[in-house]
Symmetry: C2
Subunit: 598 residues, 2 copies
């Protein structure tokens, strides 16, 4: 009883043939004395017809309920005119059942597969049923196509997949580690890897030249909508190439994936923008280039205006004043503007100044705004000129510390840019818009902790000529780091790494990691760099996020077969769970609050 | 400065061309005023010549030491006659250096790359240098080819890679789990998966039809030479196929891998043998079919012989007497026979009876043996006839409980079969000899614990018609389980799974798992089986072991980039290690013996 083809694939080419199909009863309809079953498998649906003339099959068909697992043998025939369905591959045909076997019946499922608005708790508890829904089948199939096409591309360029350890060493830098107590070594722990970063660098030092791995990484952080305790990276590293050559390889990979998986041609080459420019124009290091809106900087101009909100921001250390012109935005209602004002408050903005440009020709009288009275004519003129404002536009302003302005006005740009308004007004280009953001700063200063942190990670190479700045002027040092941004999502990030021990030591010092601590935590890296380490660099892609973007899913949980909830639980198998006292004893640990031990 | 090709790949086709190569100084020789550097990369070596006429390059070359990382540009020319090397791809040419750049110097490595007999501690501590050795580079490259060819084959048959969780639920059945304390859920733990078994079954129930994954599995067991705490499985599952169809797919995969990776044609189809037959003929469920030696069973015959060792074994419940004839083994010395006697003692055998067949024609006088005096003529005659003994042979005997006989005589068969003696005498066929061993028993009885255990795992389907035996006569129940054996190694194992809830419950009962415990541990499985679970089955291959076999390595540690020692330590990064008290507090655990906390 060999399957002829997937149920979803049976089509006109099988006309008049006897086929054997396997699948599940998606729905059953009785109509005019005939029973119709939509049989479903991972490739789709086919309509099976049970004629009462075939008594044996008909009798079984009467017993069939949703989600029964079936084998069907029958004759492929054309659907009667008017009953065809062009939305599915099998829509021109139906299968007249000759024999049917119920391979396994089903109790009534906890929900119907086409039910909308199911709670996530229900879906994750009954994940098996949830995964039967065609959208989930398609998500995981697309995820697979992305990973296998990435492999094919990397394989063709001589990259080799080398596995790195899952049980490795805790380095309390960056995110929180998941720990694994050692049974053999009392009081000691493995950590699950936050990324294979140092191992892939070791592999370059060992001479493997081109490495990749599609692998799980772990971070024990508080979860947000787009985070999971375990997530998957397409992790890559190569030796002997410079920044440009590395980016060329990996934008090629993304083009290959989009072409093969979605039939879409991404631009060649990808546009490139410096981090400085991205922050200046969009207030973001991952600007969504589908949105045709950008900042105009007026920090200089506002130093002398009367309006205190603007001049104080313009004159403070690290302050910034920007305008965001929304073409044809003058029609926004008071209510909409109020909503946007509340929205930017989330990002710390204390207000949202604006000017509606009703009729430029009328000068000051043609402007509608609570703030223009405090802005002199020359400044007003420059605002209108530099933003390129036209009658009917609105101009929003942000004025504060640069971080607040960038965060709030950057978010406002995205909020408006993705709105129906923007789509209607042509302010949004519905295309795939990749972008490289490059030349990140080496360090970010943490005011709270009073020290520098690595903007990318501590193994990132400074730009040529910036090495001395590591010690003299760290905030001016830029890095050979690059992010691949797609439609406003950071889908990948990487850098050229440090391959000389003395540079690595300088970076550790800039990060306040003294020689002893560096040796204790990263001794193996410092050692490795002394044995003729090659110049190398790489990139890591977030597979979950990329597939979420490609499938248009609401959540990364929709592209992972068995995800954790936002409370880091697996509701299907009920993990985590209490364990036996014996297990704890073997691991030389005890609970602090031992009430729950069974 | 783009690389022309890998250093190891430069050859006669590049003659008279200027090439740019990157790599490491494998060795430097000064000879007749000229400096020779063997430049090495992952693909091999090329000879670089530094002529003193090129002063700049020559001066740099004088400073070059082993393991310096270099870029070389130079002219490819023929090696002078008599200096060619046919062992390497680049052996007909050399590169006359035009320019050389030291990309990174190297301190003196802890050992030379061609040093033999390095201790494993040294090798694993300096793994970066160890991995530069061509044998290790080739091992990991071959490992990659195996995994990518497995993927290509499975992809071509519609299998899709779906990731299953690493943070999952502890089920204290089988091996010991690695546990991961939960920070969010006080007193609860995740476990790292021992295999994705139940998840892949869930994926079949969810309708994905064909699944694979090359994934890490974890077992916290005491380590042997061929075990690691984390190991890699090629894990596969499919729906709607029977045993034969599943085996056909996966022996096809193995043929594909051997053909693509090693250019070797494995037999088509693979031979098949029942577990009963394998145990009867070879005393092993993974017989090495290269060895042309097998048991002859004399349990029946020995019930009545005078020799007590034989008749007591033959008459005990579960006893067994076998002969192992070694053609031309009569020349074995007393010393060799003593050594074999000590060898079988490891497996519990109390002695090693033998008969040397010097001259059959002389009857009893032509036999040399400590035991023939206690064996009557008829029995002797039958022994000679049934074993097919010829003059010059030796026949060994095992007589004890079947397990002792099988273990000891099975091991003796392999010991002799792999010896130089066997190779010289044609008792060993140096070919790749795969074999399916099928029809395993469902259960093994553990005398110590006084209960049955699953021989494969508790989700294995009984053979058709054996369902009732689960309750009436468990030891007579056989399973739809199969192992793929290659040259005496179990490289893969699998089964058709139970897809009906009532059968699964019966098996749990046979294993002394009551309904409550079954629900607590495997409730999600029992639930899933009720929703129209399809018939399904699969297989898992041990990638580490397969690659060890294919590379002829001594240890699986030689086919893993960063393995653990037999004390479960990573000597490169020094894991496991003590962690901060703060980390423990966040995880709601404390150490039992808190001395070592820093």
């Amino acid at each position: 009883m060999t399957r002829t083809c997937y149920t979803g694939d049976v089509n006109l080419e099988h006309l008049d043939q006897t086929v054997t199909l396997y699948g599940w009863c998606h729905r059953r309809r009785d109509h005019g004395g005939v029973i119709f079953v939509d049989l479903r498998d991972r490739e789709g649906l086919a309509q099976i017809v049970f004629d009462p003339d075939n008594q044996d099959a008909f009798k079984i068909a009467e017993s069939i309920r949703n989600e029964y697992c079936l084998r069907i043998t029958g004759l492929v025939r054309r659907r009667p005119e008017g009953t065809t369905n062009n939305d599915i591959k099998s829509g021109q045909i139906e299968v007249l059942c000759r024999t049917v076997e119920v391979l396994n019946p089903s109790v009534t499922p906890p929900f119907q597969l086409d039910e909308d608005n199911l709670s996530e708790t229900i879906r994750l508890t009954h994940r098996i049923i949830d995964l039967r829904r065609p959208v989930m089948q398609n998500n995981l199939k697309l995820r697979y196509r992305v990973s296998i096409e990435a492999r094919k591309y990397l394989d063709s360029l001589g990259f080799i997949d080398i596995e790195t350890p899952m049980l490795t060493r805790s380095t309390p830098e960056g995110a929180r580690d998941y720990l694994v107590p050692s049974r053999v070594h009392d009081g000691q722990f493995f950590a699950l890897p936050q990324s294979p970063q140092l191992f892939k660098q070791m592999l370059m030092v060992a001479g493997f030249d081109r490495y990749y791995q599609i692998t799980k990484c772990f971070r024990d952080e508080d979860l947000r909508a787009d985070r999971q305790p375990e997530f998957t990276q397409i992790d890559c590293e190569t030796s002997f190439l410079n920044e440009e050559q590395i980016r060329e390889i990996f934008e090629g990979m993304m083009r290959h994936i989009f072409k093969e998986v979605k039939g879409i041609d991404l631009p060649n080459p990808f546009p490139i923008m410096s981090w400085d420019e991205a922050m200046a124009r969009f207030g973001s290091d991952k600007p969504d280039m589908r949105i045709n809106l950008e900042f105009t900087d007026f920090t200089e101009l506002m130093r002398d205006v009367e309006f205190k909100v603007f001049n104080s921001a313009a004159n403070m250390a690290g302050g910034r004043v920007v305008a965001l012109r929304i073409p044809q935005g003058g029609e926004m209602s008071r209510k909409e503007i109020d909503d946007y004002t509340q929205f930017v408050a989330i990002y710390g903005a204390k207000g949202l100044a604006y000017i509606k440009v009703n009729e430029k020709a009328k000068g000051r009288d043609g402007l509608q705004s609570p703030i223009v009275k405090n802005i002199n004519d020359a400044a007003l003129e420059e605002i209108l000129a530099k933003t390129g404002a036209q009658d009917g536009d609105i101009i929003f302003f942000g004025a504060d510390k640069a971080k607040v302005v960038n965060d709030s006005m950057g978010a406002l740009r995205v909020k408006i840019g993705l709105s129906e308004f923007a789509k209607a007004k042509g302010l949004f280009t519905p295309e795939w818009k990749p972008l490289w953001v490059i030349d990140f700063p080496m360090f970010e200063y943490d005011e709270g902790e009073g020290r520098y942190f690595a903007a990318h990670h501590p193994f990132t190479s400074p730009k040529d000529g910036h090495e001395d700045l590591l010690e003299t002027n760290p905030e001016k040092a830029y890095a050979k780091a690059y992010d691949m941004v797609l439609n406003g999502w950071e889908v990948g990030g990487g850098s050229v790494r440090i391959h000389r021990e003395e540079v690595q030591s300088k970076v550790f010092r800039a990060l306040n990691i003294d020689a002893e601590e560096a040796r204790a935590k990263f001794g193996f890296l410092l050692d490795a760099l002394q044995y003729g380490a090659p110049p190398h660099g790489g990139l890591a892609f977030g597979l979950d996020r990329l597939v979420t973007l490609m499938t248009g899913s609401d959540s990364i949980r929709d592209v992972i077969a068995f995800p954790k909830t936002q409370r880091a639980q697996d509701l299907l198998v009920q993990a985590p769970s209490p364990v036996d006292e014996k297990q704890l004893r073997e691991l030389h640990i005890r609970l602090r609050n031992p009430i729950e031990v069974k």
